[in-house]
Amino acid sequence: MDYATLLQILDSTIRLAVPLLLACLAGLWSERAGVFDIGLEGKMLVAAFASGAVAYITGSAWAGLAAGIGAALVWAVLHGIASITFRGNQLISGVALNFLASGMTVLVAQAAFSQGGRTPALSSSGRFNEVTLPFADAVREVPVIGPLYADVISGHSLLVYLAVLAVPATWWVLLRTRFGLRLRAVGENPAAVDTAGVSVTRLRFAAVLIAGVLCGIAGTYLATALQAGFGREMTAGRGYIALAALIFAKWRPWGALWATLLFGFFQAIALRPDVVPIPVAALEALPYVLTVLVLAGFVGKAIPPRAGGEPYVKER
């Protein structure tokens, strides 16, 4: 496999890793606050649909983004109501919302566009097109790093760079601010926060909503940048891989970046049977197998937030 091929694979690695990264950060926010969220898949899906539909109707990618985030937020609020307000089972709530998403998107898409659950293809104005970073062409001639910068780093949609920036942002807010401190505390021992006179419910909702926003961006990316429109089940299990990546990342922001890049890389080589002579089925199973190994602690043990999955009930 020559350098050029490697660059291509890295290029598509980034394209494929970004939705995973955003979803993974979403999961990170939610679970650091003690709310499990297997509903990432569903949130991305509704976001993908909403952004695809609105971007088509308005012809504006930004309108699409707004819609995508909005839709994901609706799902996030539902999850919050079920698992925070009414102390329901967070896992079941997530599963339910995933089903709801996969059904609703197709239903509404069919009703609105009657194109078999797909939204019409977007014109370039309705999409987040690739932006070329400064000096991309200038440095292309520089050996090795030149092409790396010009072809891999540069030339992605705006949302890609947004996603990457979300990593340090998450890190800073989570570890360097009052909000972050309280949020982490809520994920470890909500009673401590409650007795300190801070509302557990509000903090957890905040976390869930942030997760919604990130999933919204992820879905929008799928429908308006990676693709030109929404297609049924277009998230294709990315939400679950993101969860796996989250565990792999041990619930840490930078870890999330590396984990999702790794999984993105697997997906990228799965698309290149010409370079890796392994049966495609095997390549497709690889991320899942790896995840299982990670979960099994064969690749480093991960300790989840202590209060994760536990609805908070006042008691002494």
Partner: protein
């Protein structure tokens, strides 16, 4: 009433199934008749759909796609009075009509145009599900390229080995980018709904693509060189018009009877040079006349030229 069953990938795949839909729709407009239609959601559904339609008295029942072959062999005998039409596959039953196309011929023409349009002398073919039928496309395409530019390279990739491969635009897009990365500047797809992603990627990366089944030139005007149109719509239209009277047996539609062709319209007018259309015209005549015989992969399951 007649009925139409769309395969996975859906009625609006902008390609194979959509072509069938066009036919049915035209028939509806022309005759004012009505028909039933179902879209497959999963493999295991086929039999229920067939039986349900037959049982509810639809006749004839048209289904798009080879995947129905096996199920149809099971179901057809149970409903001797119902006529079935299967497109893209041969089922030998007294009440079944099988319609197949000489895709290799149309693909050959596409190959010629691709070779002439290519500046890098590298062109690509991306098949959907890796099955003989689609290899047939690729093989004809490769022969067309070979005949025009013997030293040109033809890259070949497949989206997958299951029907899911018909409806995976993301993967299609990535595969296209990969081929473009390897120098391809014209990409021909035979991948149904997945093709949307392929055409999109080609357009995004500023190279030419060739559509399939339906006329896909309009999807990205000026960026789709042409489309290897397969007149599934005609097949459906005929079936519906002949109704219950339709006679069983196998029908092969090729260049001669406009069953396959390369689409020329305002969307690709400025892409198609006079030489190109001349070359296409010439090849067409020769094929019809039998002076050129395009090798059909399915006859011996091999394609030396394309290397599979």
């Amino acid at each position: 009433d007649p009925a139409l069953i769309f395969d996975l990938g859906g009625k609006f795949d902008k390609s194979f199934n959509e072509a069938a839909y066009m036919g049915a729709d035209r028939w509806k407009k022309d005759t004012g008749g009505s028909y039933r239609e179902i879209e497959m959601q999963s493999e295991a559904q086929r039999e229920q759909a067939l039986r349900r339609l037959a049982q509810s008295g639809s006749n004839p029942i048209v289904m798009t796609g080879f995947s129905f072959a096996d199920v149809l062999t099971q179901v057809a005998p149970d409903y001797p009075d119902t006529k079935f039409v299967i497109i893209d596959s041969e089922v030998d039953e007294p009440n079944v009509r099988s319609v197949v196309f000489s895709e290799e011929q149309g693909s050959y023409l596409a190959g010629i145009m691709a070779a002439m349009a290519s500046k890098t002398d590298t062109v690509g073919f991306i098949g959907g599900m890796d099955i003989p039928l689609i290899r047939k496309f690729g093989c004809g395409f490769a022969q067309g390229v070979e005949a025009t530019k013997p030293d040109a390279t033809v890259l070949v990739s497949w989206t997958g080995s299951t029907p899911a491969a018909w409806n995976d635009p993301v993967r299609g897009g990535e595969l296209a980018r990969a081929q473009i990365g390897r120098g391809a500047d014209v990409i021909y797809h035979g991948a149904g709904g997945t093709g949307i992603g392929i055409l999109q990627a080609a357009a995004d990366e500023g190279v030419l693509a060739i559509g399939v089944d339906s006329n896909q030139n309009a999807l990205h005007p000026g960026q789709v060189l042409t489309s290897m149109v397969k007149r599934v719509d005609v097949a459906v239209y005929d079936a519906f018009t002949q109704g219950e009277a339709i006679e069983p047996g196998t029908v092969v539609l090729g260049l001669a009877d406009q069953g396959v062709s390369v689409a020329m319209d305002e969307n690709n007018a400025d892409l198609v040079t006079p030489e190109m259309s001349a070359a296409v015209e010439e090849a067409t005549q020769k094929i019809i006349a039998g002076e050129i015989s395009v090798h059909d992969y399915m006859t011996d399951d091999s394609c030396p030229i394309a290397g599979f």
